[in-house]
Amino acid sequence: MRFELMYESFFKIVEGIPLTLQVVLISTILGIFLAVAVALMRISGNRLMSLPAYYFVYLIRGTPLLLQLYFVYYGLSQFEAIRESILWPILKEPYWCGIITLTISTGAYSSEIIRGGILSVSKNYIEASGALGLSQTKTFMLITLPITVRQALPAYGNELILMVKASSLISIVTLMEITGIARTIISKTYAPVEIFLVAGSIYLVINFIIVMFVNIAERRLGIEKAT
């Protein structure tokens, strides 16, 4: 073990934390909107809405994230039309390609979690709400949504951890977040074990903090832990 090297590289790898967190945060927030939209499309009962949503989720869940990232970053830029469109300033940046890919990915996975949550809301509540004269929008906002959040939160906590892990892939398109910096140091110093321990611990700490926050939120919302 080269402890001095571990100590030095710790401070270098730490510099990647803001980028990792930033990418995770932005794509998670954008991903929630996508997820809700896809989940609502899937349970709409209208085949024109539910089928595209179904195939979208199938496509994303059935292919590796790395391939999706390559598709967005290298695949789309092949076309003249895209290179000349107003989207090009965004699509030529690995940073935004990473965020787009992660957003689409978490949107698909979370839509399943949200769909499960919405479907778990008892029909009786919806009927009772209708009997009380609440409109459909009000029923959704005041009854369905809060119960869905409660139901979906434990699974969504897992999804957040998967997002932190998935964000490491953007290092492959040249972004220097935690894994990217770790990889550079490994190939310079050839000390894979030491650097793995440092970078791995950083990820474990981040994920541990997320688990803690999710647990607090679960307790606040009165979710009983299934043990």
């Binding site: 590796p64 695949g75 892939l169 770790a182 490994i186 894979p192 793995f196 474990l204």
Partner: protein
């Protein structure tokens, strides 16, 4: 447009198909390694020894909390020296280099093993205790108890979970492309670079992955049916 997928030396069709074969091979060997690790660590988690439980807990926590890519880098850069270190203990001084397939299998197998551990542990836990007790009362032990009574029940309950683990494992093998193993991902990158047609080659890769997913779903569905023969009527009613 499709002549880039011609078979033979003029197109990339046969190379892409070979890449798909390689993906299936490396995923299968990783899944097998993962299930083996899963059985060992599930046994550790269910054991009465604190040390074994702690080791298994550390293993699953690390794998589930650390990006797969880091694990692959660790084995890619450190795998050969670790094996040489082990070989030295046994008196072998020569140079050993692991090929990309072995490194990939070990890395993805280790990741897959953590998920399998949880699936198998859950499945063993859901076999009623009475089954063990009755088996022992009948004088069964070892293979006749675990192989004939417990395993079929664990297999039935674990199969859907193992199907999910297969799905995860299949997708994780795309990450091994960074070590140079020529599977679907790597092959489509090479082809895209050489033809300047990334869009169609990545689309082809997407179709290949979806095809493998579809076929393996059919396989797992029939396996589930086979293992739940005696249960079908009960669940239907």
């Amino acid at each position: 447009m499709f002549d880039v997928f011609a078979l033979g030396p003029t197109g990339w069709g046969d190379e892409m198909l070979m890449g798909a074969v390689m993906t299936v091979l490396v995923s299968s060997s990783s899944l097998l390694l993962g299930i083996t690790l899963g059985i060992v660590f599930a046994a550790c988690k269910l054991s009465n020894f604190f040390i074994l439980r702690a080791i298994a807990e550390v293993y699953t926590t690390i794998i589930r909390g650390i990006p797969e890519l880091l694990v692959i880098y660790l084995l890619f850069f450190g795998g050969s020296s670790a094996v040489m270190y082990l070989a030295k203990i046994f008196g072998y001084m020569g140079y050993i280099e692991l090929n990309a397939f072995t490194i990939g299998t070990i890395a993805v197998g280790a990741i897959s093993g953590a998920y399998s551990t949880e699936v198998i542990r859950g499945a063993v836990n859901s076999v009623p205790k009475g089954q063990f007790e009755v088996g022992k009362t009948l004088g069964l032990s070892g293979y006749s108890l675990y192989g004939k009574i417990i395993f079929p029940q664990v297999a039935r309950i674990a199969l859907p979970g193992i199907g999910n683990v297969w799905q995860i494992t299949l997708k994780d093998t795309a990450l091994i492309s960074v070590t140079g193993l020529v599977e679907i991902m790597r092959q489509s990158r090479i082809a895209a670079g050489s033809t300047h047609e990334p869009f169609i080659f990545y689309t082809a890769a997407i179709i290949l992955y979806l095809l493998i997913t579809r076929l393996s779903n059919i396989f797992f569905d029939s396996a589930e049916k086979k293992y739940s023969k005696g249960y079908v009527s009960k669940e239907a009613s």
